[in-house]
């Protein structure tokens, strides 16, 4: 009996070992399609990504990567259309809120089933453990965290000085933000503060709710929880800023333009716009950066915007080529390109001070420090479950906008949206 068990175990482990990805065959040419939303832009993102692809192909001459630009908001519908047409991409850069749909809707294979444990462990060495969590769901890793940014309080240092405030001691709590905004508005013609939380993506809203000790989805992922006092309190803080006349009624682009023309003192926005802000503010005002403010003495828990890389092909050789591309993109060299050329955060902390990688760049760009420091307290951007995940997020975000800019009580708006969104949860 013991021999039989031993044989069965041996057979099973052999079978499992055989199911891992085979190594690349140097005599076989492989072409993989890589959907990438940075390639869909004509800015720094496309240049940096193309360089990443070019360097990878130089190191792997028998692998050809066909980069295809697809915008982030079109990515899932494009992949769905391609799956139906039988021409799905082999690997794709997809934002984190699609994680549940990819895992449970499209049924993609987790990395643990594709890559041998020792190979995975070797690649994960030096990776920020919180970063790895971003692509995980129910204990399996479906995506490898790739481009990545956190919410930053961007500051017009000239306006701080004009109002008698010290830009080197930026506000660390929302109460201090409100006080600073009031002081600046009293002393200058500029608006006080704008929190760029609105829109279809809810990652920054999740940052605020988490930092106020709440959640938008229960830990067991069974119910929406943005009707709790903590979540409503986070929205109320934004409404209070607006009711006090400190937060202008501006849209996403108008707020960005107000900040860049020197008409807005504080601007909470993703760190991904860092390169853009640096170049556009040149000659207009001195740009500063600070960490996301706290709700009183509660710990700040910034979430991330950004994306992970997902393998979508079923062909083992293409899966291997895709995995090699993913490894390169998230290697020390990969993150050096991503951070210096695009402006996203590196998920390998050791390279930040290493002169062989980012050491010199970080020393020359100290403005990135608050962003780097937030990695320590990072919480994953939680994806909603089920096929209606986009609609639920949209309902929630529309309610946040209505609650902040409208006249109805915040709690009423959020509770109503919660009721409607809860009806869309999977049963």
């Amino acid at each position: 009996m013991r021999v039989l068990t031993l044989l069965a175990t041996l057979f099973l482990s052999t079978a499992i070992a055989q199911s891992y990805l085979p190594p690349l065959d140097p005599n076989e040419d492989i072409t993989i399609t890589f959907y990438n939303y940075n390639l869909a832009s004509a800015g720094l993102g496309a240049q940096g990504t193309q360089r990443l692809i070019d360097e990878f192909m130089e190191a792997n001459p028998n692998v050809t990567v066909e980069g295809v630009g697809v915008s982030s908001d079109q990515m899932i519908s494009r992949i769905q259309a391609d799956v139906v047409a039988g021409r799905a991409p082999d690997v794709a850069q997809i934002v984190f809120d699609d994680l549940d749909f990819l895992a449970n809707g499209l049924g993609i294979t987790p990395l643990e089933e594709l890559v041998a444990p020792e190979e995975l462990a070797a690649h994960y060495e030096g990776f920020n453990p919180r970063g790895l969590e971003l692509g995980r769901l129910d204990g399996s890793t479906y995506g490898l965290a790739y481009t990545f940014s956190t919410p930053v309080l961007w500051i017009n240092e000239d306006l701080f000085r004009a109002a008698g405030l010290d830009p080197d001691a930026p506000p660390t709590t929302w109460a201090a933000v409100q006080a600073a905004a009031q002081t600046i508005q009293d002393a200058t013609d500029a608006y006080g503060v704008y929190v760029s939380v609105f829109g279809q993506f809810d990652w920054m809203f999740q940052s605020l709710v988490l930092s106020n000790s709440g959640r938008v989805l229960s830990e067991d992922r069974s119910e929406l929880t943005f009707d709790t006092p903590e979540a409503i309190g986070a929205v109320q803080m934004l409404r209070d800023l607006r009711d006090a006349g400190l937060k202008p009624d501006l849209g996403f682009n108008e707020a960005l333009e107000a900040f860049l023309t020197g008409n807005l003192a504080m601007y909470v926005q993703t760190s991904a716009v860092q390169s853009y802000l640096l170049s556009a503010s040149q000659g207009v005002f001195e740009l500063g950066a600070a960490k996301l403010p706290a709700f009183g003495d509660k710990p700040v828990q910034p979430t991330n915007s950004g994306s992970a890389l997902f393998i979508l092909t079923d062909d083992p050789m293409k899966q291997r080529a895709a995995w090699e591309l993913m490894k390169f993109a998230t290697s020390e060299r990969g993150y050096t390109i991503i951070t210096t050329e695009i402006g996203y955060l590196p998920l390998r902390p050791a390279i930040v001070r290493d002169p062989a990688y980012l050491g010199d760049w970080v020393a020359a760009n100290p403005i990135v420090e608050p962003n780097l420091a937030q990695l320590e307290n990072l919480s994953p951007w939680v994806p909603f479950p089920g096929p209606n995940y986009k609609q639920m997020a949209l309902l929630m975000m529309a309610a946040v906008e209505e609650a902040v800019f409208g006249d109805a009580p915040v709690a009423d708006v959020m509770l109503d949206a919660h009721e409607r969104a809860s009806a869309l949860m999977p049963r």
Binding site: S41, A42, L44, S71, A81, V273, S275, A280
Partner: protein
Amino acid sequence: MTADTPRRRTRPNVVGHASLLALSLLSVFPIYWMIATSVRPTNELLTSSLVPSALTWEHYRYMWDAIPMDSMLVTTFLMSVAITVTQLLTSLLAAYAFARWSFPGGRILFGLFALTWLVPFQVTMIPNYVLLSNLRWLDTLWALVVPQTASAFAILLLYQSVNAFPRDLLDAARIDGANSWSTLWRVLVPNLRAPLATLAILLFISSWNEYFWPLLVTRDIERSVVQIGLQMFLTSEGNLWGPMMAGATVASLPILVLYIVLQRQVVESFMKSGLR
């Protein structure tokens, strides 16, 4: 009485001309702003000064380096011409058939054609995409053009004009020995120049501004269209207004040229439509 008459005539003219001038300026201003933004230095892009402090071509250079504008312009032009020509042809034939002859089920068929106008693009998008994928037409001009060779809008618009055409003239042509085909080309088309020109310009502009369908059926940026190229300057890392406006200026030139060429027919068509 004679002294009052010219004054009475002049006053409304001044007000009318002033209003028209104001409206013209209002219409032209966005075009001026687009061109002005395309030649402003980067640090002035978000300022509201009417005149740039200095002129720069850096945005045009960046735009041309960042996207394959020349190949995009060629693709967009070919696509727009092909869609315009094929839609004009199919709609002319369909409108002629529906307006000229009564045949069993004609009204129902016309109603069905009209109803297709109400079917949202999103409904047919994926089946069309799958079909083109099976035909291996994706990333080709065929994919951009073939699904758009007929439209209910064009048929309905031309149907009105053909239907309003005097039947006596068509009958006279028949008595003179002209068959249906030569009546169409020798009698009807020469007299429908104005609505055909209007429809052509509307179809061309609509095809020139195509975004979603080309976005779906083209993977290779070199084979894509200008509207996708312009969208590429609106990025999650910040919008590049200078190159975007440079691209928009270049992209609007063909439309401007087309309008100038067909201006007389278009104005004539709109005036006739207004009087009818």
